[in-house]
Structure formats: structure tokens, C-alpha cells
């Protein structure tokens, strides 16, 4: 009785938290109140995963810092960042494998430390590297694992292993990495968990098996399960997730819906600049290339590039600008050109207006790849520089070389 009351009481708190989070997140769509698969009355509306200022430090070494995440029931939530960003640390803290240094974490409304056992009954976990006892056949191992749950998993084990084409009679130690991973998938899904936590699940799986795996995850999702999908491969996150959190150096940099990330104002713009006049851009609109160019600029390609750079710098919303000057057939005389490439986030009319002042040989405005979007959030420091020096050529930069994080949005 007392227990029920505390659950109810907690439910109220969580609801408030969820509402707060929604506002805080900057509104990436309304909350699916029941979750797609919000079954069971007691946890209706409770987030599948909720962390508040979750922090884990390893002595002086960085773990995760101030991680705030809300994963709603019934969604497939992506968790992306490069190796060492803190994805696994977050997951391991949630599962109680390591102890948090500070903050709070709950799964399905239950505290990750106090209610660990109750949580684990409802969670399926696939670690990034799968290790099992030596000398055991996959069948025996899965039966051992199944014995911990209060449901009969035998039918599901058979079903899953058939789908994945897994030989249950092979010894786990004799298995290839991919086959071991299959055992891990079966183990993670066999008890029909309400929350499935996948830590880099596709590594080691060939494309065919990956496809089966994604189908399985979609089926689990349709059944009502929530999925936390951690990965450093954006295309697979793009393939399956509803929302994505980007983690960088232990901190959440952004939480976005995948659709929003791809279809938002961010565009990849590539310009073939066929000679640019300073006046043309900043004052009087378009002009013929030859005359204005000769009057106002020196007679070489680099000037055109400098002009374009200056012109683009004045446009707000341009990021990650790269400029490649290329000499045309008559280099040094009248044909100088450059290719400018950048990400644009903002009103498309302003962009078009700015481009109208340039003489362009070519223009391409495309959806950025998620990789580019990711780098866009992931990289930092160039936000206010616009097309300034800090941003030029930074698209291909290594994450490790990048400077301060952007504040969480």
C-alpha cells in the first residue's frame, strides 16, 4: 500500500519534470502522453529514461558532466557522439554498472540505484562488446540468462535466433564477433523488455544482419518498447530514430528530432563563384564580371575569393564556410573563380537576397547529410564567427581538435 502511494506521488513529480523538459528542449514536438506503447497504468506518462544533471567522474578524468536527458516511452531515441564522448558511461550509469558522482537518473520512474533490480527486469541491454563465459553453447548461455526473468523466453529465443540465423549449438567462444553480437541481441530482446538499450549495436554485423536487426528493433518499437540507440554512425541513427541527443566530451550538446535536424533551416549550400565584385555584393547588385573586377580588385583568383569571403561573412546564419579558389583556363587574365561551400541556417529569403548580389557560375542548395548536421552541432566556437576565419575549412576538422562546447539548447 505504502509502496503504491509513493509510486503515485513520484508520478506527479515526473510529469512536472517532463513538462519542464519539453519547454527547456525548445519544443521538438509535443509529448506523446501515453508513449506509443505506454502500457501499464502505473507508469503512464513517466519518461522511459530521465536524467537530471547526471555526472560521473573518474578521478580527474572526464566521464560525463551534467547530462540531462528525457527519453519518452515508445520512442526510438538516438544517442550519438564519437568514441569516448560518454555514451557508454551514461548507459552504464543508467544500468547501475557504475555509480554516478552526482545528479539523478531514473528509468520508467524508478531510481537507477535504489530500484536497480526492478528496472533490470524491464530492460534489455546489448553492450558494445559482447563477452560471455567460455565453454558454453549459445543455447545454454541464453537459457541461463532467461532463468533470471519471470517470463518464459524459450519460444522467443528460438524465434530470434532463426531470424538472425544464429546457430544455438555453437560454443560462444568459437563464434565470430558478429555471431557473438547476435547472441547479445537475442539476449537483449528475449524477455520482451519495455526499454531496450543498445550500445553501438551494429558493430560487427554484416549489412544483411543489420537489416534484420533494424527490422527487429522496429517490431519491438511497434510492440511498444522504448529504444535507446547509441552510435557513432549517424546514418544508422537517421535510419531508425525519432530523436537524437548529441554528446560531446561528456556533455549533451543538443537534443533534436531527426526530422527536424535534417529538414530544419540548415542547408548545405555550394556556390560556384564566377568572379565577384566588391560593389556588386555590397552596393549596386549584379554587374558584369570583367569591368568591375578589373577596377576594384587585383587581377587574380585569390581576390575573388577574398571578396566572396567578405560578402558571405556579412550574411548571418552561415557556418562552416570553405572557399576553394580555382584558376580557370585563362588563369591570371580574366577568368578567376572559386567554389564556396557552407551550411546555412536561417531565412532562405535572406540567403537568396545575398546571393543575388553575386555572379554565380553554379549554385546548389541541398539537405545536409546528418554527418554535416552532426558536425555542425558538434563543432563549436565558430557559431559567432559566421564565415570568419575560425570556420573556414573546419567541416572536415577532427572532433578532438575542436574547442569549447556550445551551450545546450
Amino acid at each position: 500500500m505504502r509502496h503504491d502511494a509513493s509510486v503515485l506521488c513520484r508520478m506527479g513529480e515526473w510529469r512536472d519534470e517532463v513538462a519542464g523538459v519539453r519547454n527547456h528542449d525548445g519544443g521538438s514536438g509535443g509529448i506523446d502522453k501515453d508513449g506509443k506503447g505506454g502500457k501499464g497504468v502505473e507508469v503512464d506518462g513517466v519518461p522511459a529514461i530521465l536524467t537530471r544533471h547526471l555526472t560521473k567522474r573518474y578521478g580527474k578524468a572526464r566521464g560525463i558532466e551534467d547530462v540531462n536527458l528525457t527519453v519518452r516511452q515508445g520512442e526510438i531515441f538516438g544517442f550519438i557522439g564519437p568514441n569516448g564522448a560518454g555514451k557508454s558511461t551514461t548507459i552504464r550509469t543508467l544500468l547501475g554498472l557504475i555509480r554516478k558522482t552526482g545528479g539523478e537518473a531514473s528509468i520508467l520512474g524508478l531510481d537507477c540505484e535504489k530500484d536497480r533490480t526492478r528496472i533490470l527486469e524491464q530492460v534489455g541491454y546489448l553492450p558494445s562488446e559482447v563477452f560471455y563465459y567460455d565453454g558454453m553453447r549459445a543455447r545454454d548461455l541464453l537459457q541461463y540468462a532467461a532463468g533470471f526473468y519471470h517470463v518464459d523466453c524459450s519460444v522467443r529465443i528460438r524465434e530470434l535466433s532463426e531470424r538472425l540465423d544464429l546457430n544455438l549449438d555453437q560454443k560462444v567462444e568459437d563464434m565470430s564477433l558478429g555471431n557473438r553480437k547476435k547472441v547479445g541481441i537475442v539476449q537483449g530482446l528475449m524477455h520482451r523488455p519495455r526499454l531496450i538499450i543498445l550500445d553501438e549495436p551494429t558493430s560487427g554485423l554484416d549489412p544483411l544482419v543489420q537489416r534484420v536487426f533494424f527490422d527487429l528493433i522496429r517490431e519491438e518499437h511497434a510492440r511498444g518498447a522504448t529504444v535507446l540507440f547509441s552510435s557513432h554512425i549517424l546514418s544508422e541513427v537517421q535510419r531508425i530514430c525519432d530523436r537524437v541527443a548529441i554528446i560531446r566530451e561528456g556533455r549533451i550538446v543538443a537534443v533534436r528530432s531527426v526530422a527536424e535536424m535534417r529538414r530544419s533551416a540548415v542547408k548545405r549550400v555550394t556556390l560556384g563563384i564566377g568572379g565577384v565584385t566588391g560593389n556588386g555584393v555590397t552596393a549596386s547588385g549584379s554587374r558584369t564580371v570583367g569591368t568591375g573586377y578589373r577596377e576594384h580588385a587585383r587581377d587574380d583568383a585569390h581576390d575573388a575569393v577574398a571578396e566572396a569571403k567578405r560578402a558571405l561573412a556579412s550574411v548571418p546564419g552561415i557556418r562552416s564556410l570553405t572557399l576553394d579558389a580555382e584558376a580557370g583556363a585563362g588563369a591570371g587574365t580574366d577568368a578567376a573563380s572559386a567554389v564556396a561551400s557552407f551550411l546555412y541556417e536561417g531565412d532562405c529569403n535572406e540567403l537568396i537576397a545575398a546571393l543575388a548580389g553575386m555572379t554565380l557560375a553554379d549554385v546548389e542548395i541541398a539537405e545536409p547529410t546528418l554527418e554535416e548536421v552532426f558536425m555542425h552541432y558538434y563543432r563549436s566556437g565558430d557559431k559567432d564567427d559566421g564565415a570568419g576565419a575560425g570556420a573556414v575549412g573546419a567541416v572536415a576538422g577532427e572532433p578532438g581538435e575542436l574547442s569549447q562546447p556550445e551551450p545546450t539548447r
Binding site: 554498472l97 558494445s128 562488446e129 563477452f131 560471455y132 533470471f148 539476449q187
Partner: protein, 275 residues
């Protein structure tokens, strides 16, 4: 709910350990039979020549191996043998503790076990219960063997001078050694970051216990018994007076409990490093 899970882990550990248990127990029984049924009659029947050999030993050397003039009686030979029986039991029990509680660490499967819906304390209890079961069964098998060997010496007055219950009491010292070294093994399994070789570590523990026996004997200072676990179970006292020294028994129990409790605390609270 936990009872079911505890039983599940308990059964798994017993099954996983069965081979090593059978080998260890067979070794213990073989050592017992070789010494008591095989070597003792030979010693007894060639007393004079053995005495000559022993006289040639430096006294410390003889003490190191537990040899003295007493080895020509059944009781005396049992006391001499018990040192080696204890060594065997110590190595075995320590290995079981290491293997059972370090199983996940060695296989890097800690993630697997610790995301199962079972409190870590219950996992520890189940594994410990499996270890204690093995020690108990091995100990009982040894008692049975000792009793069977004893019945062979009905015509030996030095054997019949010792009542069977006293012999069994003396043989029960192996339970104590077993539990103690199981606890050492369990604690080592929990504390060591990596367990490279179960048998290597267990042998080190066993040999160390064996060597420490000679410390009080060679120095003649009984105060050193406090650091010599084998001597906490005084076989002479059991054979001669049918009892153990309560103080040392309590010391043994306290040390075992502290090791097991410390092991449990670390096991329950410890962090699982990503492999």
C-alpha cells in the same frame, strides 16, 4: 523472488565448477590414501632406517617438513600428514573461491551478470554458497576416507589408541582450512583487477600457509601461530584431547568472516569497468 535467482546462480556455479571440484576432491582423497594407507605402514615397518635418516636432518629442515620422532605412530603420522592434507585443501578451496567469484572477471562477462535482475548481494551469496558446498562435500568425502583407512589398522595399537571420533574431529580441521582459504580466494577474486591464473594464485596462497606453519616450530615461539592459519586448527589437540583451542577457532572464524564481508562489500559496491 530472490530465492529463485539465488538457486539459479548456485546451480550454475556448481555445474560450471563440477570438473575442477571432482579433480580437486580426487586429489585430496588420493593424497590421504597415499599417505595414511600407503606411506604410514612403510614408515612404521622400517622405523630404524627412517630414524637414521631423520637424525641426519638439520632440526630446522625436519621441522619445515613436519617430520619428527612421532611419525611411527598412527596419530603422529596423521599429524605429519595433516600438514599436506591441509595444503591440498587450502589450494583447492582458494582456487574455488577465485574461480567462482572471479568467473565474470576472467570471462569479461561481468556486464552480462550484473544487468540481470538480481541484487549483487544475492549473486555474491549464491556464489559463496556454491563455494561452501564444495568445501563441505570435499570435507565429508575426506572424513569418510579417513574413517575407511582407519578401519584398516585394527591390528595397530597406535591406531586403536585413538578413538574414531577423535580422528574424525582431527580430520574436520580440513573444513576450517577449506572455509578460510575459500574466503581468501573469494576476497582475492573481488580485489584483484585481473585474475590471470586461478591455480597460480591458489598455489601461492596454499604454499604460503604451508611455509608459515614452520615459523612457530622453527623459532619455538608460539606467538607466531597467530599469523599461521594452518596452526589455528591444532590437530594434536584434537587427537590427544578431543578438542580445538577455542581462541584460535574464533580467530579463524573472525578472519574468514572479515574476508567474506569485505569481499561482499566490494562486490556489491564495486564499479564494473568497461572492457
Amino acid at each position: 523472488m530472490n530465492a529463485h535467482a539465488i538457486l539459479h546462480v548456485y546451480a550454475f556455479e556448481l555445474k560450471a565448477q563440477l570438473r575442477s571440484f571432482l579433480i580437486g576432491t580426487a586429489t585430496l582423497l588420493a593424497v590421504a590414501i597415499l599417505l595414511l594407507a600407503g606411506a604410514y605402514p612403510i614408515y612404521r615397518d622400517s622405523k630404524s632406517s627412517v630414524e637414521q635418516v631423520i637424525d641426519g636432518f638439520p632440526p630446522q629442515f625436519a621441522a619445515l617438513f613436519g617430520v619428527n620422532d612421532d611419525v611411527f605412530s598412527f596419530g603422529g603420522f596423521y599429524r605429519f600428514s595433516s600438514l599436506y592434507l591441509m595444503l591440498t585443501m587450502a589450494i583447492m578451496a582458494c582456487a574455488w573461491g577465485l574461480a567462482v567469484l572471479g568467473r565474470e572477471k576472467r570471462a569479461k562477462a561481468t556486464d552480462f551478470l550484473f544487468v540481470m535482475p538480481m541484487p549483487r548481494g544475492a549473486v555474491y551469496a549464491a556464489k559463496l554458497a556454491a563455494g561452501l558446498t564444495m568445501v563441505a562435500v570435499a570435507g565429508l568425502a575426506f572424513l569418510a576416507t579417513a574413517a575407511a583407512v582407519y578401519t584398516r589398522f585394527r591390528d595397530d595399537p597406535t591406531a586403536t589408541a585413538i578413538a574414531l571420533p577423535r580422528l574424525l574431529l582431527a580430520a574436520s580441521s580440513l573444513f576450517g582450512v577449506g572455509v578460510l582459504f575459500l574466503a581468501f580466494g573469494a576476497l582475492a577474486a573481488v580485489l584483484l583487477r585481473r585474475i590471470r591464473s586461478v591455480s597460480g594464485i591458489a598455489t601461492t596462497f596454499g604454499i604460503f600457509g604451508f611455509m608459515l606453519v614452520s615459523l612457530p616450530e622453527m623459532t619455538g615461539e608460539s606467538k607466531y601461530r597467530i599469523v599461521s592459519p594452518f596452526t589455528w586448527f591444532n590437530v594434536s589437540e584434537a587427537l590427544d584431547y578431543g578438542r580445538y583451542e577455542a581462541g584460535y577457532l574464533m580467530l579463524a572464524a573472525a578472519v574468514a568472516l572479515v574476508c567474506l564481508a569485505a569481499g561482499a562489500a566490494v562486490y556489491v559496491r564495486g564499479e564494473v569497468r568497461a572492457e
